[in-house]
């Protein structure tokens, strides 16, 4: 857990260094801290010995893989948000510090071994995000996003806590490995199929579905995505989803795999509703971030197929899927931020190809990757998840594939906008150097990431 401490301390230092009123220092602290943390995560690969350790956190290779991705996306969120943060030097420290603290929660959620750490991680992840969603203080929609997310999130947390209590009542332990062993050892008797345990599993599942934004628990996500500042939207879509799905996979893969026959049908229905609802709602959106929100709902539906399958490859497939999704969404929110359109209309993309060919190229790559066009990373993620799920759930995979087809429509609609002539002649867009670096890395990752990652067996 050395890397976790590094992330926390650099977040703390950036909070205090902001009193110097020099935003560059804050950016440097957090960037260096995150880079050290990523290096430590990589150094820990296949090498569990660390300076500090705690029984509640176990950094297996799976946890490390997810943590590295989360740290990269957090770093990108900080970098693309920096230009607006530095306009308010007195608050730079809070914005960046809160993002770092939220990442600490995400890493806890990926490495926990018992329900205590998991719950703490979830809270540490969520609380800074509630605040960050409202950081556009002069924008009413931002305050609305913050309040909505907070109220709904607090409710979901209550449901989760209730579910953990029921599970504890049925199994008598908080450790997820012991819960799994208990269910495995008693699966032929009535103890592992008591109604108490079933209620607990369903409650935990409901709160997870809320956190990842799956229908019918998705109602917060379009408003929150739209109202939050762009970099926070990117963080929510990339890091929070990664953390929530990592924990989802872990709890249902380690603690409840032997109850698969019980919870899988419920999850199948949720996945189907999510895929359809997200896609059909996205078709007529005119605001870009709402489009992203509904498309993210659809992507959650696809990713749920990996949780449903629960084969030995599912964790890695889900990781590649979310990794590719994160790069695309961060690139898109960064570009939408540079367009600087107050109303956030999709039509603001018109003429982007002429105004700035670099941004247009990255935007097209990211959109095509979300649509799942080979050989981009989004295609590989989708392919691996669907191929893995096909043996168990052929019908659902076919429905998901058909929905991918529907999805191409609204992604290409945005792509067409990029190449259309703008209505009013507008000036070229100046891209800050940080954005060029982040967007270039995103573009390269989208282009070759899938080809490279699918060659190796990571876990």
């Amino acid at each position: 857990m050395d890397a976790l401490i590094v992330i926390f301390l650099s977040g703390l230092i950036s909070l205090f260094i902001a009193f110097a009123k020099k935003p560059v220092l804050v950016l440097l602290t957090s960037t260096v801290g995150l880079l050290i943390a990523i290096a430590l995560f990589i150094a820990q690969w296949n090498n569990p010995v660390t300076l500090f350790s705690y029984e509640g956190l176990e950094f297996t290779n799976t946890a490390l893989l997810y943590s590295i991705a989360a740290s990269i996306f957090a770093l990108f969120s900080i970098l693309i948000g920096y230009n607006s943060y530095k306009k308010q030097p007195e608050h730079t420290g809070e914005y960046i510090g809160l993002l770092m603290f939220s990442l600490v929660g995400a890493v806890c959620m990926l490495a926990f071994t018992d329900m205590f750490m998991f719950f703490l991680g979830l809270e540490i992840l969520s609380l800074p995000i509630y605040v960050l969603a409202g950081t556009n203080k002069k924008d009413l929609r931002s305050s609305e996003a913050s309040l909505k997310y907070f109220l709904m999130g607090a409710f979901a947390t209550g449901v989760l806590l209730f579910g953990i209590a029921w599970t504890y009542g049925a199994t008598g332990t908080f450790k997820i490995q012991e819960i799994g062993d208990f269910i495995y050892n008693n699966q032929n008797t009535g103890i592992a199929h008591s109604s108490i345990l079933y209620v607990g599993v369903l409650l935990i599942m409901a709160s997870f579905l809320f956190k990842v934004g799956a229908a019918p628990f998705h109602f917060w996500s379009p408003d929150v995505y739209e109202g939050s500042p762009n970099e926070v939207t990117g963080f929510m879509a990339a890091v929070v989803k990664l953390g929530a799905f990592g924990a989802f996979m872990k709890i249902f893969g380690i603690a409840f795999p032997d109850l698969h026959a019980f919870w899988a049908p419920a999850l199948v229905i949720v996945a189907l509703i999510t895929i359809f609802l997200g896609n059909l709602s996205a078709l007529n959106q005119i605001h870009f971030k709402r489009l992203l929100a509904y498309s993210s709902i659809t992507h959650v539906g696809y990713a749920l197929l990996a949780v449903l399958t629960l084969s030995s490859n599912s964790i890695e497939n889900l990781w590649i899927y979310l990794f590719g999704y994160g790069f695309s969404i961060i690139a898109l929110v960064a570009i939408a931020k540079l367009l600087n359109d107050d109303e956030d209309k999709i039509s603001a993309f018109k003429g982007l190809a002429k105004r700035n060919p670099f941004l247009a190229t990255v935007a097209v790559l990211a959109l095509l990757s979300l649509a799942g066009v080979p050989p981009l990373i989004g295609f590989f993620g989708k392919y691996l998840v669907f191929a893995d799920a096909f043996t168990q759930y052929p019908l659902i995979v076919i429905i998901a594939l058909a929905n991918s087809g529907i999805g191409i429509y609204y992604y290409l609609k945005t792509v067409i906008n990029i190449f259309q002539k703008e209505e009013i002649e507008e000036s070229k867009i100046e891209v800050p150097a940080i954005h060029i670096v982040v967007l270039s890395i995103c573009a390269i990752a989208i282009l070759v990431g899938g080809l490279v990652l699918s060659q190796y067996k990571l876990l």
């Binding site: 205090f16 009542g169 049925a170 108490i196």
Partner: protein, 121 residues
């Protein structure tokens, strides 16, 4: 470990609690004498006459100070169980408490630097 049957006492207790509340509310309405008069129906029978609306905007500084007070209040509450177990926990407990207090002090220092406790600003 436990099955749904083990929780039957809790259900019974919940039933008793709700039943008691409902019973008392109903019984007082049925049995109580009903005497109405102008004085009896007034909101306050004594004291100063109420004026204006209770929902007027309060300066946000009150909330800030109150929230910060709650934080440190809770910190002190954590000391009670520690004080009781002080000798049993030995050095390990002391280190844990020092760490806990250190985190709080960092927060307190931040609050001071931020000027959250300066009333006139």
């Amino acid at each position: 470990m436990s099955t749904a049957n083990d929780y039957l006492p809790i259900l019974i207790q919940a039933g008793v609690a709700i039943g008691f509340v409902v019973l008392v509310l109903v019984v007082t309405h049925v049995l109580g004498p009903k005497l109405n008069s102008k004085k009896k129906d007034a909101n306050f029978e004594c004291g100063i006459e109420s004026k204006g609306d209770a929902r007027f905007p309060v300066s946000v500084r009150y909330f800030l100070t109150a929230i910060l007070f709650v934080l440190f209040d809770v910190e002190v509450i954590f000391f009670y169980p520690y004080a009781v177990n002080f000798s049993d926990l030995k050095l390990e407990g002391l280190l844990a408490v020092i760490m806990f207090v250190a985190f709080f002090l960092v927060g307190f220092f931040y609050v001071l630097k931020k000027g959250a406790l300066e009333w006139e600003k």
